[in-house]
Symmetry: C2
Amino acid sequence: MISGRCAACKYLRRRCASDCIFSPFFPSNNPQRFAIVHRIYGASNVAKFLHQLPLHLRPEAAESLFFEAKCRIEDPVYGCVGIISQLQHQLHVAETQLAKTRAEIAFLASNLQEAQPHDFAAQPIQGPNTIGFSQIGLSTPAHWFNS
Amino acid sequence: MISGRCAACKYLRRRCASDCIFSPFFPSNNPQRFAIVHRIYGASNVAKFLHQLPLHLRPEAAESLFFEAKCRIEDPVYGCVGIISQLQHQLHVAETQLAKTRAEIAFLASNLQEAQPHDFAAQPIQGPNTIGFSQIGLSTPAHWFNS
């Protein structure tokens, strides 16, 4: 059966109006995409979220809602927050690694300065710039790191 | 009025049964916590998500649902995904910084080896270990980095 209805209207077995809120973001050739957001938020909530936004922001919002819903289905305990914890852990590892490397550079530079005082006196060697990891200010509870 | 009902049952104006699914995670002294998850997922979806999990996993699930819902209210376009993009960007910066630093160490070590061949011949200086950023395998669409 050929149908001009979007995936959401097909799923909800209703007519797809020309100004359907779902139609631009849930095409009929990808029924799974709507099924996933519907399962997590419910159709009326998704419609409400999209309606609240100006037109140009809706595609990104639909995409991020789909991503979060998919994460929640794949990981019913942590959802997207599992990825956040994993990334925060990776950042912690990177920060530690950078601190270690900076210390290594300082050690090498001081050895080199002793060995070649004239060549390096005018070119002080600096460690890498500090990356402001702490600036991100995430409010994820600390215990998620330990789970 | 003193009431033994949890925040969810108060919000939904219903009796709070002794086996209420919400009661352990949405205490009456924090009505906002339930209001937030209700606004994003709806009460019946939250109940469904919790019911599907074994008892010991429900506290973490309630916490991550609350966190995600709060993120969606604070950032209706990107929600939690905004944090993921931000962290991924920070990781990219850190990876670049580490590569630069490793090159700097290699340069210093080779200069030092030339200057002090006998001291350093037996102690090869290595760059820091590579951090497996690519191992995280996130499926966030690449265009979120540019937004």
